[in-house]
């Protein structure tokens, strides 16, 4: 093994060597630089591998050959090695990225770069506080130099501000060092710790000064104005280094220093860190400059790690896993993002739309965002999971809330940005990206995936990247260059095969969900054949969602469940984002979903008491005092997905603006994830009381009100897909209501809804989507009279609305019948009234849907349109066939589920004797109904045909019109504001209270951000003052504690 000191000596030596090279050998100088950095990385890597695989023990390197206190020692453990590797690699990649700038600037710049990397490594490795000071100052000088690499001459100002603040910091640090030495008689950290120097005389204050100095290097809010300016103005490759390497080094320094101070200081550091995390994320909300935004994000992430460092004792054995996970994820992602920003010409966020020209860059951007937000399968995900659990184990509920809030805010602006990149800027001209820079970015992205794998291995949970489903989905990233129909076939085959293979392992409940997800998903994919071209990005996203869903239903532990939940959320987000106008809706979807997911995580953590590997079945044994809170958190999490009223505002836009075949996926299938969660919740936790209030009763009310308001809002939509979307809210309300009834039939009804809703909503979304495709509008009043032109779509909608409205003989009636039987034994009667009211309201919007689109007057411009594309019609016909079949023999699917549910409730099941289904209260024979109805219908139709077979077929204006004639189809088609009188009666219920509320919340955060960021005035002296004030305030607070 090469001694760790050569990491430093290589950097230093190469820097000196560069000085010896002729000025003109710039290219060669650059090669030397790269070689040095590569060598440094290699050394670090060799140590990392040694620690990881050879069981290498931690080593101390004695610089002068003697042990401390007589010489400086360096220490190399796993953490040091890994972080040094991070630093060196980001240095190497930045140097590669900076090639042009470095060659222009000459060898001095290269030397400074080497010194910077060396200094960061030194900060990590050294165990001597004065040596630490030296490396910090070296890094200051080199950073000061590297800032000048930027083309932006505002960087000058930024660099100078940095130097001003550094001066203040260095004064504090030197004073701290010397008085610590005075108190402990040594400069070695370990010896100082052993001597408890911080507890002796002036040692306490000295330690505080030293600590503040190193904390200041981690750029805590609010003493960090200088750092933001540097991020904004410096060369992006330098910012990458500064963010990834300097941040990493500073954090490790804090970690090292902190052990000296005893128990007083970690909470202070944790406070500073978490405050920075939340505050920087709030401030980030109102940023419009990409690099400055990255700066805020960087500060937030480092703040989070700082918080974890402060919480070292709390998180215990997982400390390195957590802090390291967040740190490396941040380092890789932030470096990658800065590198990306170097490829983007303009500095406003929407300018990142240019990345669309290169799928690799887009993939990298997505990876980085996922890394930062902490989505699976990246290290931040595992780390956050462990962190929250560790905190929960110690009952640090407030901290959990703060961390989750901060994470949500961060996700908000990052996802918003990603949305801009994907959707803004209509016509982009073609851009040529430098291959070298793209390669650097791609390396970082792949590094992120690699880290995801490593962290998965380290996590102690099943590695997500070993999951078949996820791998299959990720495989589509690789396949993305193939034509759409090939991918479509692979997807259908894959999902069917997956179902076939997994089929024996499912219990009846899982089987129902699995059929809908896998077979149902495959059925919807059939519609995908109508797309020509490659349809970039569609299949990875969709398959990611399906993978998440498939993983969800078989999850045994809370971790698997949550991971699957996040995977399906991410996949569906990408999927929704693909719609033409869907950018804001996709954002609100992901924000609500992540908020819900965080509630889940908190709930799981609370339930398990901080045990990170916790069986879902264990939810039934949650301690009594925690149980109601667990219930509430999980229920809220799941209800975000089912879009229960109040949490529903993301749904209409997300579903309505999605692509034609995406709407059925996200409506017909994705919503079921929430229901599955609720099933799981209620199956395990059952009835739970909070302050004497029965929570399932509350759920019943929420379900009922969702059903009512969802339906009611659907009535007044002019946009067909929005109508269907609101109707989904109502339908999910029904299902929630059924579940919350907590009786056998209620659950059966909910399951019936799961199946039915999938079928008819998918079908309706496809039909309406097909119509919208042909007519070029989703506004119903602009359609009309399409029945003769699109007969198959009409039939699909007709069957769909009959099924959905619950009119016999189709399957919707089965749901209603079970519902009535279920409420007979329900404990609470009042919410049932609301359900009664909402039932017939469904007729209103369903009739409107079919009437204003297919009936009434055909418009001029639609006279020549044809039936929807063949492949969109095919799945509709499959659904029609299924609905008819399911109407006749619902028992095929339901009786097994019925038997399965019986294990949860005593009595109340159905009897499936012969053709008649019997409950304790009534009976129902689908076959007889179908036959009787069919027979009557056929006889009457024959009679009418006999009478009217010679009827004259007339055209659309041949209507009686009070002796006048219609003017134009537009004025004759009664469609707009169809239920105007109804609005008079019920309009008051339709005020968008929920939207107002959430707008208010969002507005408040943005308002705070907008006001608070004015704190950073841009004046170097003010920043120095901030630093001093920060130190003072922290001291006062710490002393007060």
């Amino acid at each position: 093994m090469v001694s760790a000191i050569h990491i430093l000596s290589t950097g230093l030596g190469a820097a000196f060597l560069l000085g010896l090279l002729p000025e003109a050998w710039r290219g060669r100088a650059h090669l030397v630089t790269l070689a040095a950095l590569a060598l440094m990385s290699a050394i670090a890597l060799s140590w990392v591998l040694a620690f990881a695989f050879d069981g290498q023990q931690m080593v101390d390197v004695f610089t002068a050959g003697v042990s401390p206190p007589f010489a400086i020692n360096l220490r190399l453990g796993m953490a040091e090695a890994a972080l040094s590797l991070t630093v060196c690699l980001s240095g190497l990649l930045s140097a590669l990225y900076l090639k042009t700038s470095l060659i222009t600037q000459g060898r001095r710049a290269m030397a400074v770069l080497l010194i910077a990397v060396m200094a960061f490594c030194g900060i990590i490795l050294t165990r001597d506080i004065f040596n630490l000071f030296v490396f910090v100052e070296l890094s200051v000088v080199s950073v000061g130099g590297l800032v000048l690499l930027s083309d932006d001459n505002r960087a000058l100002g930024a660099g100078f501000k940095y130097l001003i603040v550094s001066q203040v910091v260095s004064i504090l640090m030197l004073l701290g060092v010397i008085f610590l030495y005075h108190a402990g008689g040594t400069l070695n950290i370990d010896t100082l710790t052993a001597a408890n120097a911080a507890g002796i005389g002036t040692g306490g204050l000295a330690f505080f000064l030293l600590l503040m100095a190193v904390v200041a290097e981690a750029k805590p809010v609010p003493a960090n104005g200088w750092a933001l300016d540097i991020y904004q103005a410096a060369h992006p490759a330098f910012s990458a280094l500064f963010s990834a390497a300097a941040g990493t080094a500073a954090l490790f320094a804090v970690d090292k220093v902190l052990v000296m101070g005893g128990p007083t200081w970690p909470p202070v550091v944790a406070g500073i860190g978490l405050f920075s995390f939340v505050a920087a994320n709030v401030l980030g909300l109102s940023q419009t400059h990409d690099r400055r935004l990255l700066g805020y994000s960087s500060i937030a992430q480092i703040g989070l790690v700082l918080g974890v460092v402060g919480l070292k004792d709390v998180v215990g054995e997982h400390y390195l896993f957590i802090a390291g996970g967040i740190l490396v994820a941040h380092a890789v992602a932030k470096a990658g993002m800065f590198w990306l920003s170097g490829l983007v010409a303009e500095r406003k966020l929407s300018a990142w739309a240019v990345l669309r020209k290169n799928p690799i860059l887009l993939f990298a951007f997505a990876t980085f965002v996922a890394l930062l937000v902490g989505l699976p399968p990246f290290p931040g995900f595992y780390a956050k999971w462990e962190l929250i659990h560790a905190l929960m184990a110690q009952d640090r509920v407030v901290l959990v809330a703060l961390i989750l809030l901060g994470a949500l805010l961060e996700a908000t602006y990052l996802m918003r940005w990603f949305g801009y990149a994907l959707k803004r800027g209509a016509d982009l001209e073609s851009v040529q990206f430098e291959v070298r820079k793209v390669a650097v970015v791609l390396t970082a992205a792949l590094g992120g995936w690699g880290l995801g794998y490593v962290w998965g291995e380290l996590s102690g949970h099943a590695n997500l990247l070993h999951s078949m489903a996820l791998l299959f989905a990720l495989g589509f990233v690789v396949l993305d260059g193939l034509p759409a129909w090939v991918k479509n076939t692979v997807a259908i085959a894959g999902m069917s095969a997956f179902f076939y293979v997994s089929y024996p392992g499912y219990d009846p409940l899982q089987l129902i969900f699995a059929s809908i997800i896998l077979l149902g998903g495959a059925a919807i994919f059939v519609a995908g054949y109508h797309e020509r071209g490659r349809r970039l990005g569609f299949y990875p996203s969709a398959m990611l969602m399906y993978a998440g869903l498939a993983m969800l239903i078989v999850a045994d532990t809370t971790f698997q469940f949550f991971a699957a939940w996040e995977v399906l959320t991410v996949g569906s987000y990408f999927l929704i984002l693909r719609g033409k106008e869907s950018e804001p809706h996709a954002l609100s979807y992901i924000v609500f979903s992540l908020g819900g997911a965080f509630a889940l995580m908190a709930g799981f953590a609370l339930a398990s008491g901080g045990v990170s590997e916790f069986a879902i079945q264990g939810l039934s044994d949650v301690a009594a005092e925690a149980a109601p809170w667990v219930f509430v958190l999980l229920a809220v999490g799941f209800m975000t997905k089912t879009a229960a009223i109040g949490l529903h505002i993301w749904l209409p836009g997300a579903h309505a603006e999605a692509e034609t075949d995406v709407s059925p996926m996200v409506s017909g299938i994705l919503l079921k994830a929430g229901l599955f969660g609720l099933f799981t919740l209620l199956m395990t936790m059952g009835k739970t009381q909070m302050y004497g209030v029965e929570l399932t009763h509350v759920l019943m009310w929420i379900g009922a009100i969702s059903a009512l308001l969802g339906n009611l809002m659907a009535v007044f939509q002019e946009d067909a897909k929005r109508l269907l979307a609101y109707s989904s809210i109502g339908q999910m309300g029904y299902a929630l209501f059924g579940l919350a009834m907590m009786n056998h039939l209620g659950w059966l009804m909910a399951l019936m809804f799961v199946i039915n809703h999938y079928v008819y909503k998918s079908m309706l979304f496809l039909s309406v989507g097909g119509v919208a495709k042909r007519t070029g509008t989703k506004l119903m009043y602009r359609m009309g009279g399409l029945i003769t032109l699109m007969p198959l779509s009409f039939v699909a909608v007709l069957i769909g609305i009959i099924a959905m409205s619950g009119v016999p003989p189709l399957s919707g009636f089965g749901g209603r019948w079970i519902f009535y039987n279920a409420i007979m034994t329900a404990e609470y009667k009042l919410p049932i009234l609301i359900i009664f009211l909402s039932g017939p309201i469904a007729f209103l919007y369903l009739f409107r849907l079919i009437h204003t689109i297919f009936l009434g007057q055909l418009k001029d411009e639609h006279r020549r349109i044809t039936e929807a594309p063949f492949w969109i019609v095919v799945p509709q016909m499959l659904f029609v066939a299924f609905l008819l079949g399911f109407a006749v023999v619902p028992g095929l699917a339901l009786r097994h589920v019925d038997a399965y549910i019986a294990q949860f409730f005593v009595g109340g099941g159905l009897s499936w004797d012969g053709l008649t289904i019997t409950s304790p209260f009534g009976y129902w024979s689908p076959v007889s109904i179908m036959i009787v109805t069919g027979a009557i219908f056929a006889v009457l139709l024959a009679w009418l045909v006999f009478l009217n077979h010679k009827a004259q077929k007339v055209k659309q204006f041949n209507i009686v019109f009070a002796a006048e004639r219609p003017h134009r189809p537009e004025t004759t088609h009664f469609a707009w504001n169809f239920y105007a009188p109804y609005r008079k009666a019920f309009g008051f219920l339709l005020k968008p209270y929920a939207t107002w509320f959430w707008d208010g919340v969002a507005g408040a955060f943005h308002g705070v951000a907008e006001t608070a960021r004015r704190f950073y005035t841009g004046d170097g002296q003010v920043y120095a003052f901030h630093m001093l004030g920060f130190v003072l305030v922290v001291y006062l607070i710490a002393m007060g504690m």
Binding site: I787, Y820, V932, T933, N948, I959, P981
Partner: protein, 301 residues
């Protein structure tokens, strides 16, 4: 369960009786209404003649496929509703096809005809038809509510959803009728009944002077004849449900005729006395008056 083919002629017999009685009853009720206006009114056999005439018209037009199916749906709804409920309690001949489903089937089958009719009317392309449907559906959401709650109350009261069982539970004495055991629920249900009978004050759907008779504006000849047949059958089918649920059912035809007549008369009586509500007024009326009564009836159980 073994199906006996004899049920089919039996059911047809029930249907025929109800059909003929329905036509007659319609005319009688109209005549009574006319008498309230001091007119003689139509002859009691007028509906038969009108029906024959409409079947005998020589020309028809069609607006399309759904237009054609509308009346078929409508009448299927009426006939089906009748046949899914036992007409005469205790007489196997007139239990019709009630083995196919219970009360819930009947409640939801009510919508079968309305929905089909609405679709047919929509296909005609006539704005008045659409306006009529819009009004009708709007009104029905509120009008059905007290009834639904009342049915729920009754089902809870008797702990069954089987119509036959509910009727059975009311036998023995007049005071076993639901109307005496749970008068509140029945009051609420009767309010809904008014709303579903297409008579004033809840006839804004047809509103002859305003949107020339709404949904059926374009229907004529045999289509209209089918719908007239439905007008004879459907209200009676509905009243059979009310009778069975609330008024002890009917054990033989004379009782049946009497009870149906009285129920019909009730709607006609209210209709003659009160003027028409606008949609939002009737919605409000049902919510303000009907629902609280129904809820009280629910908690009475």
């Amino acid at each position: 369960m073994d199906f006996e083919w004899i049920r089919i002629p039996h059911a047809l017999l029930t249907l025929l009786i109800v059909f003929l009685y329905g036509l007659l009853l319609g005319a009688v009720i109209q005549k009574i209404g006319a008498r309230a206006g001091r007119r003689h009114g139509i002859p009691f056999y007028q509906n038969y003649i009108d029906l024959i005439k409409n079947y005998a018209l020589r020309t028809t037009i069609t607006h399309g496929f759904m237009f054609y199916l509308g009346p078929v749906f409508r009448l299927t709804g009426g006939v089906g509703l009748l046949l899914f409920v036992p007409t005469i309690y205790g007489v196997a001949m007139h239990e019709n096809f009630s083995f196919a489903g219970d009360l819930i089937l009947a409640l939801y089958f009510v919508f079968f005809g309305s929905l089909g009719m609405a679709l047919g009317a929509g296909e005609s392309g006539h704005p008045y038809a659409a306006i009529g449907v819009s009004r009708g559906l709007s009104q029905v959401t509120a009008a059905e509510l007290p009834f639904a709650i009342a049915v729920f109350a009754v089902a809870l009261q008797y702990q069954t959803l089987s119509v036959t069982d509910i009727v059975a539970a009311q036998q023995g004495s007049v005071f076993n009728w639901t109307v005496f055991t749970n008068p509140l629920a029945v009051t609420a249900a009767m309010m809904s009944f008014l709303g579903s009978m297409m008579r004033p004050p809840f006839d804004v759907v047809l509103a002859p002077q305003e949107i020339p008779i709404g949904p059926p504006t374009e229907y004529h000849s045999a289509y209209l004849a089918l719908m007239q047949s439905n007008r004879a059958i459907f209200p009676i089918a509905k009243m059979v449900i009310y009778m069975n649920l609330f008024f002890g059912g009917a054990a033989n035809w004379p009782v049946f005729f009497l009870k149906v007549f009285l129920l019909y008369l009730f709607a006609a009586f209210v209709g003659v006395v009160f003027p028409r509500f606008r949609v939002e007024q009737s919605v409000r009326w049902f919510l303000v008056w009907g629902v609280p009564v129904a809820v009280a009836g629910l908690f009475w159980v």
